[in-house]
């Protein structure tokens, strides 16, 4: 991809518009799967027929027993078109736009956004569009490194390539891994937030040597500091990665007083609130600002946000609070087309999870998972085996998981 030119400062910034966002409830099943990066269609439990568009009853046997299942994504491109006209503002601003009609191997015929490099055989993906709703994209059967640069595909993804990124805590193992991974992924600038400069963490000083890196004093418990940091850079941040967290390993009864829990809330929950208030407005106004637009807000939550892990009980509660607030943030960012990406890792391999048995997530692995989610345009990320297993257990029977965690 060619180097992006600097923005002409006398031109008015294009305001965000969204593709049509209305969906019936049953169609939101496609969105729910796409949020996790899965391609699912309804399949009839009685006769096995795969259905599309989403519906309430099987088009073959009329059974209402339809369940969403992962389907094979391969298909045949039957026909294609290029739109040169649209009544819809979002597409009107992005013409010409390629669409295809694909006969999926699993049965249905689908209308799909069409990647420029497709041939006869395609592979489809359910992706979230700028309105946060699932759409089907038809991509080349064989993945290639240049695939992600497709102009249309980039509208659905949050690729950090040539974008400016803020990492709110660059000192932790994960923070350092994120900064390095973002620089490697082609980010233009990486602002690295850090607090308590008198506390030295090994490896942090080397980050200064990366040409993309600018250090930024950032203390999420200090409203004034957050406001001033935002005043300085919010107008340029394309991707905000909020990985700052305060983690202690206490429940209720094994720590007197509320101070430790309050410190967890002040960073994990109120820190998110402060950041969102100060950085949100500028990012929202730049949701459609050219090829390097404001595009994503990543929250490092925890799988404990869904189900409290009593040994880290107050930490879990702070992550649950942050998750709820992140959903609020997602609603507020949605009109601007900025995607809120929530990451729910299991235990990270750091000092606060020292007593937990493996498998634990190495910071590098988690950083890669986050970058992958940005590139694929996924919005709910469950990296690692523990997160995947807890998610499956929670969705299957949340009460059973509650009991299992308190064993």
């Amino acid at each position: 991809m060619t180097f992006l030119k600097r923005k002409n400062p006398i031109l008015r910034t294009r305001l965000p518009t969204l593709p049509p966002a209305a969906r019936s409830r049953v169609a939101l099943g496609l969105t729910a799967a796409a949020a996790l990066g899965r391609f699912e269609l309804q399949q009839c439990r009685e006769c096995g027929m795969v259905q599309y568009p989403p519906r309430e009853a099987c088009q073959s046997c009329l059974s209402v027993n339809l369940i969403w299942k992962v389907q094979k994504p391969d298909g045949e491109l039957l026909a294609q078109t290029v739109l040169h006209h649209s009544n819809d503002l979002f597409f009107r601003e992005r013409l010409p736009w390629r669409l295809g009609l694909v006969k999926l191997d699993c049965g249905p015929t689908v209308v799909a956004h069409l990647h420029a490099a497709v041939e006869q055989r395609v592979r489809v993906r359910a992706m979230l569009d700028r309105a946060g709703q699932a759409v089907i994209a038809a991509l080349p059967s064989k993945e290639s490194s240049a695939m992600a640069d497709d102009r249309q595909l980039r509208e659905f993804t949050c690729d950090p390539k040539q974008r400016k990124v803020l990492v709110t805590d660059g000192k932790t193992g994960l923070g350092q891994a994120l900064v390095k991974a973002l620089a490697k992924a082609g980010a233009d600038i990486v602002w690295v937030g850090h607090t308590e400069p008198w506390k030295k963490f090994p490896g942090f000083d080397e980050l200064k040597n990366l040409p993309q890196v600018t250090l930024l004093p950032l203390d999420l418990t200090d409203s004034k500091n957050v406001r001033e940091a935002a005043a300085e850079i919010a107008g340029k941040v394309d991707i905000l990665v909020n990985n700052a967290e305060y983690h202690r390993s206490f429940g209720i009864g094994n720590r007197q007083g509320v101070e430790t829990a309050r410190a967890e809330m002040d960073v994990n929950y109120f820190g998110l609130l402060r950041l969102a208030q100060e950085f949100g407005p500028a990012m929202r106004s730049r949701g459609a600002d050219g090829k390097a637009s404001a595009v994503a807000w990543v929250n490092l939550l925890s799988i404990y946000a869904h189900a409290n892990f009593p040994p880290h009980g107050t930490f879990s509660a702070s992550k649950a609070a942050a998750h709820s607030l992140a959903q609020c943030l997602r609603a507020e960012m949605r009109p601007a087309g900025v995607r809120v990406v929530n990451v729910f890792p299991g235990p990270i391999d750091d000092e606060w999870n020292q007593l937990l048995p493996p498998p634990k997530l190495a910071p590098d692995t988690l950083a890669r998972g986050i970058l992958g989610a940005l590139r694929d345009g996924v919005e709910d990320v469950y990296p690692g085996d523990v997160a995947q297993e807890w998610l499956a257990r929670w969705r299957d029977n949340p009460k059973a998981l509650e009991r299992e965690l308190s064993a």
Partner: protein, 258 residues
Amino acid sequence: MNALAAFAEDFVRGKIRVVDLTQTLSPEFPGISLPPEMGQAWPFRIEEVSRYDERGPAWYWNNFSCGEHTGTHFDAPVHWISGKDLPNNATDSIPPERFIGPAFVIDCSKEAAKDSDFLLTKERILEFEGRHGRISPKSWVLMRTDWSKRTDPVEYQNYDEEGQHTPGPDVDAVKFLVAERDILGFGTESIGTDAGQAYHLRPPYPCHYYMHGAGRYGLQCLTNLDQLPPTGAVVIAAPLKIRNGSGSPLRVLALIHG
């Protein structure tokens, strides 16, 4: 004319000046950091309630939060285990006359500049008395190190892998000041009346241990000690009247001759 009236007259006429020994309370000011396993003191934080806006059209005000030991602050005897059972040992029970006292300012700025772990010894105190006279009872002894001129928080905190390096008194100096000079309390410009590495003295943190153990007080994060004469200043240091408080941020003022 009685002494108070004379004082008031001299004060109004500018013959007596006020020196502010207090650092400004702001979120940037470094606070004490304990090891991560322990409970932590709050740094100073301030949240706007309204600023002539829809939250309050004609007024501006804030809510703030901090620990009892944030910024320029007062340590009461109840703060340390050695003083926990003494009478009148909290900020609300200390007799108010103890909040005013003469001050003796010992200049250790040259030594502190060369050695961050400089310890004030009994010998050094005796040498000070040799030049400026005996330290009187119920007075403050303030250790001037010019540490307040370190405006970069990293230099002010002065951490390395072994912890913090700031100057303070040694064990014998403290015992001497308590037992043989009956002082009101000890004051420093850094965080902590004890030296940064005082954990390794025996007993650890001797200034806290012996001062508070004798029902005396501490002042920390002072500034402008370089504007005070070695003797003759009168310090006013009145903590907030917090019920059973272990200390509080406060305004420390010194009165000196014009």
